[in-house]
């Protein structure tokens, strides 16, 4: 175990009590005097020209305070990437998917607001809709946006190394494909926003992952000075990516508040969560990989098509990530990638856990198993032969400053008794392995900027004692507040209970938000720096007052310790006691406490504030798109899945998943395991169940959690979580990501296990019982 007192333990989360008792306030729990309730009118058409929007009757309904449409928005365009601002708050000329926003209403009750929506008359002129990503690129296809020729939002063409030459060296060359479906992130808390507008200041409480980006978008779209826009994130019930971008709903809430002068709240119902989406794209991958007889990977040629629905959202980053993150974890010096991200008349897709890289990873890891089979090699051995180690740089210039890939793979291999089970299993039972690779924080912000990615302000309580950590970081359930408290307590040598974290508020500090698995490495570094500054300021005063050398002083378990002997504290203690006549529990003997030292320092210097920031070093190569995929560090993981397939019905039971993840260093061991297990659960759902289904008109037919199936607790097998600690030099105390990387191996591990169990390969996700039966039938393995 480590030498740390607080870090690397299983300390309870700082928000556990509030969450468990129901005390925690989520956005929809908030209420204000005179608050109005908003509602949004969504398009029932997948693709249509708007001829006329008539709000006359809606405005007349008693209780309605405002009805707004595109006429109230001055044609503002917004989105995620500044180069692709293709969204409007309300559709003005045409709607592009079933769910596109047309108007919003504010009324004194939610019921009246909904009733008013029914009174808005919209006249449409139907347009041919484009629902198929392949057909979208045809020259004859209807264009969704004038700016996207052939409906292509972004294309990527990369060629690293010399694929042509490498083809000649390969002994085995295989081409494989994998297709997925659009996903829903299925977070528990539907999006909600509450806005107030008072004397030129706009405040929005929102269920968001990224207060900073929301703040910027609101200021830009609503023409307000940035400093007069404040975004506050109350408790959030999960995000997984779709809550990382500013939405029309958030903007509409603000517009309604500005128009009425009253607080306005809008909360999505579950169907709206599905319609708004911004979750995982649909991916079509085709990969050709060549290896030598000894298993050395020679090259990868990769084509990807991403169906992203009606708007760009995060799509540019998504299509880059789909290619760039195959650069690791293996030694792959020659890699060609052609990626296309198109728009179709479906809900817009964005980022979701493992952004862009999950299905590409699945396709590649499944292909590695097929190659291993052709080489008659153990698939784990094939991987071990190719994994990179710390200090290496990938062909697309990603530097691996720490890398426990080999350790992770060996750990799952040994823990799951891979060799025995692989060799000796009855029909229908199978075992499969896979690896994964992910960023630990995107190297660059979404908009061009040299801004620090985050700042932290740590302030000593002025009456003496604990500290307050002020951060813009967004704890969306992943536990970043606990991480900040633990790092601060560790640095200052005080108990965790003496640290209070205030976060998720754009007034407190800058933080790009909870996305791309950045918070522990980046905000953790800033928190460490801020706490170190506070500590140095206190010890400087104590050194001065006691005559000790600051280099000999430290705070341990809440007491100031002088490594060179006793500290002369008589006078300091006398003053402290005089100040606290009548107080109980004032220390009379022993070492100077942190509380005393803090008070002494305050009296001497006034407010003691430490600040920290994180700015990544310059990262990545100079080729086009080199920025996406860069990171100050990379996480990696390996998993082994064991399945039981009923060959008669195609039903799959996952019996166990053994996972190992290199998170650099576990700040909180329980939270690291929680992220690993959450990833495995989400991956299992995507592998076996999850699929947004559309009818022929582009309507989502399973826009609820009854028919969009994610695993329940009864579906989850035992999960073993092995923590690998490679001590990342760029992370606080050696820590790096665990939030997303853990999902990478899950889908391919399960699919490889299903192949081991059935002998049939399925190239379409999710692998439902029906798809297994169809594959078995095609392979002549169904007797009847």
């Amino acid at each position: 175990m480590s030498d740390y007192r607080i870090l690397n333990t299983r300390a309870p989360r700082v928000d556990a009590f509030d969450k468990v008792t129901g005390k925690a306030k989520y956005t929809d729990d908030l209420s204000m005097p005179e608050m109005l309730f908003g509602a949004i009118l969504h398009s029932p058409q997948a693709h249509a020209r708007i001829v006329k929007v008539d709000t006359t009757e809606a405005k007349k309904l008693p209780g309605v305070k405002a009805v707004i449409t595109s006429e109230d928005t001055e044609g503002i365009a917004f989105g995620v990437s500044p180069a692709r601002y293709d969204e409007q708050i309300f559709a003005s000329e045409r709607v592009r998917y079933v769910g596109d926003e047309i108007a919003a209403v504010a009324a004194v009750t939610p019921e009246i607001a909904r009733q008013a929506l029914d009174l808005i008359k919209v006249e449409f002129e139907e347009l041919p809709s484009v629902l198929d990503a392949h057909l979208a690129m045809d020259d004859e296809a209807e264009q969704l946006h004038e700016r996207y020729k052939n409906n292509i939002v972004q294309q990527v063409h990369w060629d690293f190394g010399d694929v042509e030459a490498a083809q000649k060296e390969a002994d085995v060359i295989r081409t494989d494909e994998l297709t997925s479906k659009m996903q829903d992130a299925a977070f528990l808390e539907p999006q909600s926003a509450l806005a107030t507008y008072d004397q030129g200041y706009l405040t929005m409480y929102s269920s968001t992952q990224a207060p900073h980006y929301i703040q910027r978008t609101l200021a830009m779209a609503l023409s307000l000075p940035l400093h007069k826009v404040r975004v506050v994130k109350p408790a959030v019930g999960g995000g997984f990516g779709p809550k990382a971008a500013c939405s029309s709903m958030e903007l509409a809430t603000c517009l309604l508040a500005m128009k009425t002068g009253k607080p306005v709240k809008i909360t999505f119902d579950r169907e709206q969560v599905f319609l708004h989406s911004r979750a995982r794209h649909q991916f079509f991958h085709k990969m050709t990989t060549g290896v030598r007889k000894d298993g050395t990977i020679c090259f990868l040629e990769h084509e990807a098509l991403l169906d992203g629905g009606a708007y760009c959202s995060f799509g540019i980053a998504t299509v880059y990530y789909a290619g760039s993150l195959l650069g690791g974890p293996y030694r792959l010096e020659n890699m060609k990638y052609d990626g296309y991200r198109v728009v179709t008349n479906k809900p817009a897709c964005g980022a979701q856990r493992g952004h862009g890289a999950v299905i590409a990873r699945a396709c590649f890891e499944i292909q590695l198993d097929r190659i291993a089979e052709e080489l008659n090699m153990d698939p784990v051995e094939l991987r071990l032969k190719n994994v990179r180690e710390a200090g290496e740089t990938t062909c697309n210039e990603l530097y691996l400053s720490s890398f426990g890939m080999k350790e992770a793979l060996e750990a799952v291999r040994d823990s799951a008794a891979w060799k025995n089970k692989r060799d000796d299993q009855p029909d229908g039972k199978g075992i499969g392995a896979a690896c994964g690779f992910f960023v630990s924080g995107a190297g660059y912000p979404i908009y061009y900027s040299k801004t620090p990615h985050c700042t932290v302000v740590t302030k000593l309580n002025e009456v003496g004692g604990g500290v307050i950590v002020e951060s813009g970081a967004a704890d969306i359930g992943q536990g970043s507040d606990t991480m900040l408290a633990m790092i601060t307590a560790e640095v200052l040598g005080i108990p965790l209970s003496d640290v209070r974290v205030m976060s998720g508020d754009s007034d407190l500090a800058v933080d790009l938000g909870a996305y791309s698995s950045r918070t522990t490495l980046m905000t953790g570094t800033a928190a460490k720096e801020a706490a170190e500054s506070v500590k140095a300021q206190i010890l400087e005063v104590i050194a001065d007052k006691t005559g000790a050398s600051i280099d000999d002083l430290d705070v341990i378990d809440g007491e100031v310790i002088n490594s060179k002997g006793d500290l002369n504290i008589e006078e300091l203690r006398h003053d402290f006691r005089m100040e606290h006549r009548g107080f109980r529990g004032i220390v009379k003997s022993g070492n100077l406490t942190f509380n005393e030292a803090a008070r002494v320092a305050f009296i001497d210097k006034g407010s003691i504030v430490g600040t920290g920031k994180y700015s990544p070093p310059k990262l990545g190569g100079s080729f086009k798109g080199a920025a996406v995929g860069t990171s100050p560090a990379f996480g990696c993981s390996a998993q082994i899945a064991e399945v039981d397939v009923n060959l008669d019905t195609g039903e799959v039971t996952v019996e166990k998943i053994t996972g190992a993840h290199d998170c650099g260093f576990a700040i909180n061991r329980t939270q690291v395991e929680g992220q690993m297990q959450g990833s495995m659960m989400m991956g299992m759902g995507e592998a076996l169940m999850e699929e947004i289904k559309y009818d022929e008109c582009g309507r989502v037919i399973n826009a609820n959690l009854a028919e969009y199936k994610i695993p329940t607790s009864l579906d989850m097998p035992p999960l073993e979580s092995i923590i690998i600690e490679s001590h990342e030099p760029n992370g606080p105390f050696g820590a790096k990501e665990v939030g997303e990387g853990g999902i990478m191996p899950t889908i391919p591990a399960i699919l490889n296990a299903i192949y081991d169990a059935t002998g049939v390969r399925i190239n379409e996700l999710p692998v439902t019982p029906e798809r297994i039966r169809t594959a078995l039938r095609k392979a002549g393995k169904v007797n009847k």
């Binding site: 008669d648 076996l688 399973n702 009854a706 199936k709 329940t712």
Partner: protein, 275 residues
């Protein structure tokens, strides 16, 4: 605000008189189905008649030699936990346990599950496999209808406007039965296919083969029953496949439903006929 009148009668007589005077009224038992439909705007009943205060609709009792009378308002949780049910008709407990989640099972009733007439209702195949009868209060009178004659189409039954399902009767529980609910996940899921096979525990087996979710109503397959009584399991499975008329829906395709009937009937049959 969704508005409707609310009645809370204390007796069956009172209920039928409310129903006579309010042809638009809808009965409210557990509400797990009807309230969801109202909130989704699928139905707008002018009046809800809450029958939960009517005592004779509650309770589970022993009838005849080893039969059961299960009050229509018996909750799914009671079916799971009640000793009489667990001892005499464990398959019904198992079917109830397979449904929804704890919170819904605490509210949802067996009467509601039967009277809603969903082709995928989980309590129905076990009840049909036990030759259950439905006790119906009509015109101040009580009549009995065999459950196999109760359903006419999805959501449709022989129940008349002022009739109330009061209890489910299982005259003879001396049967061994096995129900398989085929779903994508382990909880919060509706049967893609339901199969229940039963046999008498003494004397000739007199088997029952009932299929759910593969036809407009749950169906018995007499041909399969005949084969089973002759010990021909494979033929019985094939007969069940032939009898099914499934549809495509969001949960499964018709062809897949057909595909799994065979192995499911086989598995259920072995479970029941194994020594």
């Amino acid at each position: 605000m969704i508005q409707f009148e609310y009645g809370c009668p204390g007796s069956l007589m009172e209920t039928t008189s409310i129903l006579r005077n309010n042809p638009e009224a809808v009965l409210l038992a557990g509400g797990t189905d009807i309230l969801v439909r109202i909130k989704q705007g699928m139905i707008q009943p002018a009046m809800l008649v809450d029958i939960k205060s009517i005592t004779e609709l509650h309770g589970i009792s022993s009838i005849e030699q080893n039969g059961l009378r299960i009050g229509a308002l018996t909750t799914l949780t009671e079916l799971v936990e009640n000793d009489l049910i667990r001892n005499r008709c464990p398959v019904l407990s198992a079917a109830a346990l397979s449904m929804a989640c704890v919170q819904v099972r605490n509210r949802a009733t067996i009467g509601g599950n039967v009277a809603n007439a969903s082709p995928a209702a989980d309590t129905v195949p076990p009840l049909m496999a036990f030759d259950a009868e439905l006790e119906i209060f009509a015109d101040e009178d009580i009549k009995r209808v065999p459950i196999g004659e109760f359903f006419t189409a999805p959501g449709e039954t022989v129940l008349q406007e002022n009739e109330i399902l009061t209890a489910i009767l299982i005259p003879d529980t001396a049967r061994k039965a096995h129900y398989i609910k085929h779903t994508l996940r382990e909880a919060m899921d509706i049967a893609g296919v339901g199969v229940c096979v039963s046999r008498k525990t003494q004397g000739a087996p007199d088997p029952r083969v009932v299929l759910g979710a593969v036809a407009p109503t749950p169906i018995r397959v007499p041909a399969a029953e005949q084969f089973l009584s002759e010990g021909k399991i494979e033929e019985a499975c094939a007969a069940a496949v032939d009898a099914a008329r499934p549809i495509d829906d969001v949960r499964a395709s018709a062809s897949y439903r057909k595909d799994v009937i065979y192995p499911l009937v086989k598995r259920a049959s072995y479970a029941v006929f194994a020594r």
